[in-house]
Symmetry: C2
Subunit: 208 residues, 2 copies
């Protein structure tokens, strides 16, 4: 309910600054820089998003998306990237010219429009900048988005793409279990990992 260009752009900022990792807290000042407004404005808006159930706000700590908020953010990213694709692929814009226009088009409200546009463009998997286009259900194509292992729901086979905040100890412990960049993790192994790892391992879904 209750959409608006501003709410939507704040939601997107939250998503973007967490690099798509729903578990990451984002500071209001980070968002302020990203959005080109002052921090108090972001605080106010984050409180609104929180009331709408789209974000969680821990005062003096930061904000992060709820599951609902993430879905909305993804639908915005989807629209943004589909429009960018349209502008480049069909209207012949240069890839560097399309961001600001898509920034406006993404707020046009019509599910039917997005789905028809997607079909018209041949269900593209990525936008002109190479960024992946979320599917209508909010998931990415396989080999799509990188996320924190904790965010993998349901837990499926995935590939290690990086480690966040890994101390030497952690890294060697992971190595000892056969985990390294590019290695594949199986659901049955993941359940036996130390819980702290779940927030540290950056992964993407592996092909079946």
């Amino acid at each position: 309910m209750s959409k608006s260009t501003q709410r939507e752009d704040h939601l997107k900022a939250l998503y973007a600054l967490a690099h798509g990792h729903a578990s990451t807290w984002v500071s209001t000042s980070q968002m302020a820089v990203h959005l080109g407004v002052k921090p108090p404005s972001v605080t106010a808006m984050v409180q609104v998003l929180s009331e709408l159930g789209w974000a969680e706000h821990r005062p003096y700590h930061g904000a992060r998306l709820t599951a609902t908020g993430r879905k909305l953010a993804l639908s915005l990213v989807r629209k943004h990237r589909l429009w960018e694709t349209f502008l480049v692929q069909r209207l012949g814009f240069g890839w560097e010219e399309v961001h600001d226009i898509a920034e406006q088009l993404e707020h046009v409200d019509s599910l039917e429009l997005v789905e028809r546009l997607d079909a018209y463009l041949g269900h593209p998997k990525s936008d002109p900048h190479g960024d992946p286009i979320p599917k209508a259900d909010g998931t990415f194509h396989p080999e799509g988005e990188i996320c924190v292992l904790a965010d993998l729901d349901p837990v499926v086979r995935c590939k290690v793409k990086g480690v966040r905040d890994g101390s030497d100890d952690t890294l060697s412990a992971m190595s000892a279990r056969g985990i390294s960049l590019g290695s594949t993790l199986l659901p049955e192994d993941i359940t036996t990992f130390p819980v702290t790892w779940l927030d540290q391992l950056l992964v993407c879904k592996a092909q079946e």
Copy 2:
């Protein structure tokens, strides 16, 4: 400058309710009905448009577009109808489904976008509802829009499409000069007409 969806929609309402005749005064309550808001809201907005130099407001009488306002309104109508054409022609929407979506798309701000869209669609002359699409310079294709003779600038050869507020006397006086529905008026004749006729004769430009 200082555009906004609301200002733009009021501008369009003014244009639409005057049936494109820049000389016609439109009441604020008419606009209110058209826009789905209350009359005081329209009064306030019309005063803003007046400050911006886009409309003229004669209190307790009505509002009408200035030359600048008319140009802006025409560019909005152009965008609206081009997007409608895109939605039907390219995305396969039914012609009855596209109005509300175009109502949003028309506010996207990018000259480049409009012109590329126009070219992409093959410079269509009319939208899916048969309404003419203004050209980028704010004029219509020949045989396009009907206007009051007084609005013809410059005065060119045109065809009579109707008479507004014509008393029997006026009509017979016109007949006496050889004027009837469909007859062609030449610039040199027009200059000899009684001035009152200029606001009564509805015409459209005739092919050269």
